[in-house]
């Protein structure tokens, strides 16, 4: 379920970007305000990830509020998030290079930049939490004697 949430958030944003740039928004008049659409979708994504409060706390609470196990788990998640982010940037740069040099796409408009920046905002704010949601299970505290 947690993994589905992560897939849903990033998948929804990617789907919106593809939908707008493939011209699907024209019939629904969505192409009139794509920047706002990207912003709202990104913020909703942040809200959905942040609603998993235990994971959000683990990824974002001040270090003084975490014990050693939680700090260790966070460090692992941040390392994975960093590696993933660098990979995404690398793939993006390769795609841009191919687009520019092979497909001869030379112009960027404000919507392209808006989609990119709101995407980076979404990923930058949520990736460590998303990595934890993907890989780490938080067990509830069992009642005991």
């Amino acid at each position: 379920m947690r993994q589905l949430t992560v897939l849903g958030v990033y998948g929804a944003y990617l789907a919106l970007v593809a939908f707008i740039f493939l011209g699907g928004g024209k019939q629904m008049m969505l192409d009139a305000f794509p920047g706002a659409l990207f912003a709202v979708t990104a913020w909703i994504g942040v809200g959905v990830i942040a609603s998993h409060k235990a994971y959000w706390r683990l990824a974002n609470a001040p270090p003084s509020q975490l014990d050693e196990r939680e700090a260790q788990a966070r460090m692992g998640a941040y390392w994975s998030a960093y590696a993933l982010f660098v990979t995404i940037v690398f793939v993006g740069l390769v795609a841009l290079t191919l687009g520019s040099d092979i497909l001869r796409i030379k112009t960027w408009d404000v919507n392209d930049v808006s989609a990119l920046v709101w995407g980076v905002f979404l990923v930058g704010l949520t990736l460590p939490t998303a990595v934890m949601m993907w890989t780490y299970e938080i067990n509830p505290v069992e009642d005991d004697a």
């Binding site: 050693e68 196990r69 939680e70 069992e142 005991d144």
Partner: protein, 88 residues
């Protein structure tokens, strides 16, 4: 993997996970992770837990699995029976 007797000592001394967690300054979930062997504590945390139970740290943690209580009791019963048979 580091084996431990936290659950046994906690049950024996009637200490809840929350109480133990508060005593050593960690989240109660961390005590659960320790008891299941899903997390190996730092030396500092291990010694704090040992101090709460009033035992040396090597009584609480081991690289080898601890003998079960049933096995220990069986051994001590057999030893006692052998002593009786030997007329001691």
């Amino acid at each position: 993997m580091l084996h431990n007797r936290i659950a046994v000592l906690r049950a024996e001394q009637g200490v809840t996970r929350k109480d133990l967690a508060e005593s050593v300054g960690v989240n109660p979930q961390t005590i659960g992770y320790l008891e299941r062997g899903d997390y190996s504590p730092s030396l500092e945390l291990g010694m704090k837990i040992a101090r709460v139970f009033g035992v040396p740290v090597e009584v609480l943690f081991s690289f080898e699995p601890f003998e079960t209580l049933a096995s220990q009791l069986t051994k001590s019963n057999v030893a006692a029976a052998q002593k009786v048979q030997a007329g001691e």
